[in-house]
């Protein structure tokens, strides 16, 4: 049995402890907002938080979450009120949308650690999150917007 909390709800699961957290979240807990892209921590689509740290859940065994607090995109806010979600809507960031859960979860950690990031801070923090549609300029703009720097960002 592995016990941890997901989006403030306690989960108690009888799963192989080596199972990647991603598949426990998706298949066992039914939270499909966290995406599978590569399975080898190269694309960032599966990014979640374990105790507030951004983690690639596709390579993190569920045992790593034991006793900890996991936050997924569904737990970012109950009502789209998280500043990043609002900024994402305002800047019309997503296209196909598949990578955006991971983008948001990475951005959330960045803003907590650096509430006023520069373009370089953003590029560094977001470099592990691939977007096949190429929404990067809008992602950067939306992060600035969420941080209060509405005028900044965009394509260079």
């Amino acid at each position: 049995m592995i016990e941890f909390s997901v989006n403030k709800t306690r989960a108690n699961l009888d799963v192989d402890p080596s199972t990647p957290l991603l598949w426990v979240i998706r298949d066992h807990l039914g939270l499909t907002g966290t995406k599978y892209g590569c399975g080898i921590a190269q694309c960032g689509a599966c990014t979640v938080h374990i105790d507030g740290q951004a983690v690639r859940s596709c390579v993190a065994p569920v045992s790593r979450a034991a006793g900890k607090e996991v936050t997924t995109i569904e737990g970012l806010s109950p009502d789209l009120s998280q500043p990043l979600q609002r900024a994402w809507i305002e800047e019309d960031v997503p296209q196909c949308g598949y990578c955006q859960s991971g983008q948001l979860m990475s951005a959330a950690v960045l803003l907590r650690e650096k509430p006023q990031p520069t373009d370089d801070d953003i590029d560094k923090a977001m470099t592990g999150n691939i977007c096949r549609c190429g929404t990067y300029p809008r992602i950067r703009k939306a992060i600035h917007r969420a941080s209060g720097n509405v005028a900044k960002g965009g394509a260079r």
Partner: protein, 546 residues
Amino acid sequence: MSGANASPTERSHQKMSRAIHRREFLKVSIGAGGGLLLGFRLGGTGETLAMQNGSAASFAPNAFVRIGTDERVTVIVNHSEMGQGVYTSLPMLLAEELDADWNKVGFESAPVDAKYNHPVFGMQMTGGSSSVWSGFEQFRQAGAAARAMLVAAAAQQWNVEPSKCRTDSGAVFDPSNRKLTYGQLAEAAAKLTPPAQVPLKDPKTFKLIGKPAKRLDTSDKVNGKAVFGIDVKMPRMLIAVVARAPIFGAKVRAFDDSRARSMSGVHRIVAVPSGVAVIADSFWQAKMARDALHIDWDEGTMSSFNTNEMMRQFREQAKLAGKSVRRDGDADATLAKAAKRLEAVYEVPYLSHAMMEPLNCALDLRSDSCEIWTGTQFQTVDRANAAKIAGLPDEKVQIHTTFLGGGFGRRANPQSDFVVEAVHVAKAAGVPVKVVWTREDDMQGGWYRPAFLHAIAGAIDANGKAVAWRSRIVGQSIMAGTPFEGMADLKGKGYDPSSVEGADDLPYEIPNLAVESHQMEVRVPVQWWRSVGHSHTAFATECFID
């Protein structure tokens, strides 16, 4: 909650609301002629659609729009949303002519039906950067027809001339500014006969078209609610991962599943035409068991194939004249006596479409029906191919198009490879099943952008002016053997126009221009990809110009 799919609990709500809705819908739609809209599905604007659909009877004048007594305007979109924004752009076209309140507009993915066929390609599909231009009249006409009926319904109530009424933001106004909203008029409008043809707006009066609008699907894409094919859930659903041939065309001779069978969560392991499918409770269990299989492959003729050798053959081929695609003047003669002659060879490799969302397909296959949930760009073709394997007539197969985590053409497969395989797996599973490809499966799965070789020779005269250009393009055809073969006139032309597009209409003024094609037979499965021929012709021609 958007798209055609939902969690098990949501599905049962959907079924309930569907029944209620259908009853009310039939009641209000009586006399609406050919406008009956059955087999609708749920879509959305981010609200709980089960409630939305259940709460309001609707006016459905045609296959593309439904207006509820709750003022909701639902646009049924016949193209797949893969990032290009058709769940917003096509509703905009309809809402423009309807004079709808944009804040009340939502979307739904269309079921498979001939009435949702692409007006140019004659089948339900998304591709060729064609959704907006091909739907431009279609969606506007649908909106204009609905508007005319709402105006007629209001005019009847007020006993005024319809031509004296105007519409704005989801309501009809009479000359004295009395107002009836579309929701208030929905029931009355549903009793009218849809007009055949309605004049469209003068583009100068457009309020939505050509103006920025926020995408309708963003909310669901920033809170995890958007349902992609890989997210589909059904009660009792199992997950399958397939061990596919490591070499194109290889077949399973025998397999040993003794270890895999005993692994936790594994239900069944079966041979399917594409390989061996492991059906398990969850993806990870299925994948681990799949990786524990020992398969003896009959490798077939492609076991000695390698792309270096293929490119060497392409280079040899390029030394010969190919099928003429375009001939202006005499490039060969000009090249032979040129003051300066330049030659270059450009090679581009096979490319995977590499969508962020790996391929997948969920099915509920029963003895008399088949329901498919997947992110596809090729509904008509997929349905026909799935029906064949399922042994069902086409109309017993329904496809629920989910959001696509990228398409780039891969999800418009001429043989419906990822759908057909899932039907085979579902036959063995006996319960609803979702086949999920790993990233590696997806990258190795073929149907690539073909490798091409361009051999270009150019001549410059004594004044430094480009006077001759000869381009020989060597590679596989993507249209051969597909539904587009006839339309592209492959047999008549003797070459595949999509192999040479961008090279045969070179924008530079060169008096002696020859473009030739060598169509090669290689047993690597290939298909269209984003930008099609231009992805390699632009590279070769522009590099040579530089």
